[in-house]
């Protein structure tokens, strides 16, 4: 799969790896923008668990609120303490 993607990336001169992968951006410990996630496993005001590739992206914080929710794109707002990956069970 990765080889096909690599071939396509070379052919089109577009980094498909980066496009197809998930990506998260943290701004000032108060805003997190995650793109390329699959689904929301769990959501509460203290933590949000997102399914990304074969892992889980866990965002811990306080007063977490979803500012924008779209297919493959989520913007979380609140006090962010931790962002870490864990293996999907």
């Amino acid at each position: 799969m990765s080889s096909i993607v690599d071939e396509l990336s070379k052919y089109f001169s577009v980094p498909f790896n980066e496009v197809l992968d998930y990506k998260y951006t943290v701004i000032n410990n108060s805003v997190v923008n995650v793109t390329g996630y699959k689904k929301i496993i769990n959501y509460s005001t203290q933590f949000v668990t997102l399914s990304v590739k074969k892992n889980e992206l866990i965002i811990e914080g306080e007063n977490l609120k979803i500012k924008e929710l779209d297919k493959g794109n989520i913007v979380l707002v609140g006090k962010i303490y931790k962002i870490y990956l864990s293996k999907e069970s």
Partner: protein, 373 residues
């Protein structure tokens, strides 16, 4: 404001599944988990309606918390007809006022001219609350033609006010062609005429009102031309006063006897009338009206008619003793006739003897100088 959004509260179990469903199908904003079974989310107008069709309402309880957007505002407006009507009335009234004249200001003219200008405006049907579409050029022409005392006009409309600026004509310079007329009876001592026609000469006695210099000249061809008289006049005039002296003077004196008639009056009704007949041959009459209660509301008045008996008393005067007094009285009488600003140069007094009656006369001689050079 222009985005039509529902803020919705969803109650139910397994909300994470619902969030994933929303994430897959719609765009949502400000999603907040209030409790494990309660969620608050903002959805677009179409997304919300689609969600209502797709969602199982028996599992989830959906309540609309708030609505935003122009669509909802218009829907609310539809419900309040009174507000729409009043707003439209206000708007139409404002639009109507914009096409009307609210005030007419006229500057630079006196009251009589302003009245004439208003007449012209009325003729052109220009009044307050009439249309403000006016041909200003025509109006200016009309005012110039119809109002005689105006030399310049400018008319401007600023907003709802018609401003008319006016420049009045300068007053015509009137040349005084009046004859020079004697102000008093006078004797001409000296006269010099620089312009005009001399009608009286030195030494002439002129009565008040007679023309001394005519306001014209006659040239060699006999043509009459009006001119302003220019002259220098020295004259003498006299002002007289006289007093009569009688050696025996008859005076009337009250004897002390009197008859009093009285009558009380309230609200124009007379009562308690005392009416005695007057028996005196010579009498003096006096009437009085006295309010009895000055500070009260009761208008009770007393009318009194008093007849005083008089008798004749003869007083003998000695002229030599009272001569000075009568001379002074005579002078005073003459002085009263003297116009202000004239100075007396000589005083002549004489006594004309007529037996028991004497006439004391005073003449005030006044030198006057008149010129308009």
């Amino acid at each position: 404001m222009f985005r039509n959004v529902y803020r919705v509260k969803i109650k139910g179990l397994n909300l994470d599944r619902l969030i994933n469903y929303i994430m897959q199908n719609y765009k949502s904003y400000n999603l907040k988990r209030i409790a494990y079974d309660e969620l608050e989310v903002e959805l677009g107008y179409k997304s919300y309606n689609n969600l209502l069709l797709k969602i199982d309402t028996s599992c989830y309880n959906i309540t609309v918390e708030k609505t935003f957007g122009i669509k909802f505002f218009l829907n609310k407006l539809k419900q309040s007809i009174a507000l729409i009507i009043s707003t439209s009335i206000c708007l139409s009234f404002v639009c109507y006022l914009n096409t009307r004249l609210l005030k007419i200001n006229i500057y630079g003219a006196k009251e009589s001219t302003i009245q004439e200008i208003y007449k012209v405006l009325n003729q052109n049907n220009i009044k307050t609350f009439k249309s403000n579409k006016i041909e200003l050029g025509n109006l200016e022409q009309d005012i110039l033609q119809n109002v005689s005392e105006i030399s310049l006009v400018s008319a401007v409309i600023k907003g709802n006010v018609l401003i008319i600026n006016v420049k009045e004509k300068l007053p015509d310079v009137k040349i005084d062609y009046a004859d020079f007329v004697a102000p008093y009876n006078l004797i001409i001592e000296d006269i010099e005429c620089y312009q005009g026609t001399l009608l009286k000469n030195k030494g002439n006695l002129v009565k008040a009102g007679e023309t001394i210099i005519g306001a014209y000249t006659i040239n060699a061809n006999g043509e009459k031309t009006s001119v302003k008289p220019i002259y220098k006049l020295d004259a003498t005039t006299y002002f007289s006063g006289q007093v009569e002296f009688n050696e025996i003077e008859t005076k009337l004196e009250r004897t002390g006897k009197k008859i009093v008639n009285s009558c009380y009056n309230i609200f124009n009704c007379d009562f308690l009338k005392i009416n005695k007949s007057n028996k005196f041959a010579l009498y003096d009459e006096e009437t009085k009206e006295v309010k009895l209660f000055n500070n009260l509301f009761l208008p009770l008045t007393v009318k009194k008619q008093i007849y005083y008996e008089l008798k004749e008393v003869k007083i003998e005067h000695n002229f030599e003793e009272e001569k000075e007094l009568y001379l002074q009285k005579s002078k005073q009488c003459a002085m009263e006739k003297l116009p202000q600003g004239l100075v007396v140069s000589n005083t002549i007094q004489e006594v004309i003897d007529g037996g028991s009656t004497k006439l004391i006369q005073t003449y005030l001689e006044v030198k006057i100088k008149l010129t308009n050079d």
